[in-house]
């Protein structure tokens, strides 16, 4: 049995604000086996990016536990986090702002090596050039500045920087949503190849793009207002969604030959504020099948349905 590379146990991230406590992440538990790609999907504001950052302690969790390759990093001091940084790396949504504009590509990609290894000088240059080659960039990019590169090239550089320390865990925070569609496809292909080459490589792929998740991921977790509402293998969740929110999300995916409006579930309103959350199921104010007296009073239980599970009162009741 392959062990878990990343385990989140009841992860909570709360931000105190003037209007009250924002419960960005409210009890998320996830486990990623070695070699697995898990897609974390949800609307903007559902807390999915915060999960990614908290998993690397870029944001301190308010509660719960984070284990990376068996090591609990929830309360580790910053100094003790340094070894963890060679195991887990984060790739950001906007590749441009994730690079220091005053550094050349060589220094950007070389920085993790300078921090974690003794490689210097000509050897460093060669290593960086090899990393660039691996993500499909020519060596002359070494001397460019980020603003001289296109979005896709920058995202490749960001991946090269993440791969510099040879991590086993990648957290990809919407790595393609800032890119053109054609470039998106290249990056996704590359990520797929990367996983094929390295069986240990584990990824948490945060996205709002269901098509991308379907293409790349093995399992998918759907997040709504800081909670996971459904989780399971991609094939099952996409073909037979259990939670009404998942159903609505899937029906919102534009299909090439969709008949207009047929079977489409339209959600009313916006994501409610995570400050004054509703009683009972967080989704009930927008849920098309919510039942009065049940969904608005009691928190929904976790219901296992074969390989997937979902958090809803009505599973098994509605056809």
């Amino acid at each position: 049995m392959s062990e878990a590379m990343l385990t989140l146990q009841d992860l909570e991230v709360h931000f105190p604000t003037k209007g009250g406590v924002v419960r960005a992440v409210d009890g998320v538990s996830l486990s990623l086996r070695q070699g697995e790609i898990l897609g974390l999907v949800g609307e903007s504001g559902s807390g999915k990016s915060t999960v990614g950052k908290a998993a690397l302690r870029l944001i301190d969790p308010t509660g719960g536990q984070v284990l990376i390759d068996g090591t609990d990093i929830t309360t580790a001091r910053l100094r003790d986090l340094k070894p963890v940084r060679t195991k887990a790396q984060l790739i950001f949504q906007d590749p441009h702002s994730s690079m220091n504009p005053r550094m050349t590509i060589k220094r950007i990609v070389g920085e993790p090596l300078i921090i974690h290894t003794a490689i210097r000088g000509a050897e460093l240059d060669q290593t960086v050039a090899r990393l660039l080659e691996r993500v499909g960039l020519p060596a002359q990019f070494l001397h460019r500045f980020p603003h001289e590169l296109s979005g896709g090239q920058k995202q490749r550089v960001a991946i090269a920087r993440a791969l510099a320390v040879d991590p086993d865990l990648l957290i990809l925070d919407e790595p393609t949503s800032a890119l053109d569609v054609s470039v998106q496809a290249q990056i996704l292909e590359f990520l797929k190849e990367l996983h094929a080459e390295r069986p240990r490589m584990t990824s948490l792929f945060i996205s709002h793009n269901l098509a991308v998740v379907r293409f790349l991921c093995h399992r998918v977790a759907v997040m709504y207002l800081g909670k996971i509402v459904e989780e399971g293998p991609v094939a099952q969740v996409f073909s037979n969604p259990q939670h009404p929110y998942t159903k609505a999300l899937l029906s919102a995916v534009p299909l090439p030959e969709a008949t207009r409006g047929a079977g489409r579930i339209q959600l009313e309103g916006d994501l409610p504020s995570p400050v004054d959350r509703a009683q009972g199921c967080a989704f009930h104010p927008r849920c098309p099948v919510a039942r009065k007296g049940l969904c608005d009073t009691k928190a929904p239980p976790r219901v296992d349905t074969g390989e997937t599970w979902a958090r809803c009162h009505l599973i098994g009741e509605t056809p």
Binding site: K53, T86, L90, S98, P101, M103
Partner: protein
């Protein structure tokens, strides 16, 4: 340690390419070029002044009553003062004093203000509050008034004037740097640096500080002009350089008694101050455009 190692190994050719690009932006602005020409001329005069002036002895208190208060003529281009000293000579020599004042005041202000601003920007809680509130106290008093009070307490003189100006100048840098640090430290690349395990020192000195330098350089170049003006004001009030020391403000201070008949006495030092301050301000504006990454 690796931080220092890293700074010592800049990518020289890449840097030069960036500098050429910046220069191309700078060159597009006529006023910036004018500022650069004025400042360069001023720096050259400050450097070679003592060797090109016609009456080097007149700089420091010679007396030639036989030629006092002559109007500008072929021998004395800017005329002479009440003891017959060549004003052209004294204005040129004064450039050196002025440059010295500008550099010292701005330099001390940067040296005090930038580290405090960095510290206040990067820290949270008590330390930031203490630094910023002390800064606020200094900022709430008009700079020149405070400088006058300090010089008044220490006694007039060029060194005391510079000390007083430096002491009232640094809070501006604390505010500027702190505000810039607050915005830079929330940039994604700083988060990216944390995620690759960069130490605090590395983040501050390689990621935050280099991205805060543009406004510091711009403010410093403008402050050169303002510090010169401040020193001239103190000199004019008799609190700065003391006559016959060749300082522009002090020269105007005496020269004003001879207005309007002997107009050249205060006109030429005044023009020198005007041009120098204008030059530094135009240069500062040009640098701001040049260092703005959005221009590239």
């Amino acid at each position: 340690m690796s931080v220092i190692e890293d700074i010592a190994r800049p990518d020289a050719p890449d840097r030069w390419r960036e500098y050429r690009r910046m220069w191309a932006t700078f060159r597009r602005s006529h006023s910036a070029i004018l500022g650069l020409i004025i400042v360069s001329a001023f720096l050259i005069l400050a450097a070679i002044g003592p060797w090109i002036v016609p009456f080097p002895d007149d700089a420091y208190g010679a007396v030639h009553f036989e030629r006092k208060l002559q109007a500008p003529n072929a021998t004395h281009w800017f005329g002479t003062d009440e003891v017959g000293l060549d004003i052209y000579t004294r204005v040129i020599i004064g450039a050196r004093t002025t440059l010295w004042i500008g550099l010292t005041v701005t330099g001390i202000a940067v040296l005090i203000g930038v580290p405090l601003g960095l510290l206040a920007g990067m820290s949270d809680g008590v330390l930031r509050e203490v630094i910023m509130r002390v800064t606020d106290v200094f900022l709430s008093i008009p700079g020149l008034i405070l400088a006058i009070a300090i010089v008044g307490a220490l006694g007039p003189g060029i060194l005391n004037a510079m000390f007083a100006l430096a002491l009232v100048w640094w809070p501006g840098y604390v505010r500027l740097v702190q505000a810039k640090v607050l915005s830079v430290r929330n940039e994604t690349y700083v988060e990216a640096a944390r995620s690759i395990g960069a130490s605090r020192a590395r983040i501050i000195f390689l990621h935050v500080l280099p991205n805060c330098t543009s406004p510091i350089i711009v403010k410093a170049s403008m402050d050169m002009g303002l510090a010169i003006l401040g020193a001239a004001s103190l000199g004019f009030l008799g609190l700065g350089a003391q006559p016959p020391y060749p300082e522009w403000g002090a020269m105007i201070s005496i020269g004003k008694n001879y207005l309007p008949d002997w107009w050249w006495y205060s006109l030429f030092p005044g023009l020198a101050i005007y041009l120098t301050v204008l030059g530094f301000n135009l240069l500062g504006d040009g640098l701001r455009d040049m260092l703005d990454p959005k221009q590239r």
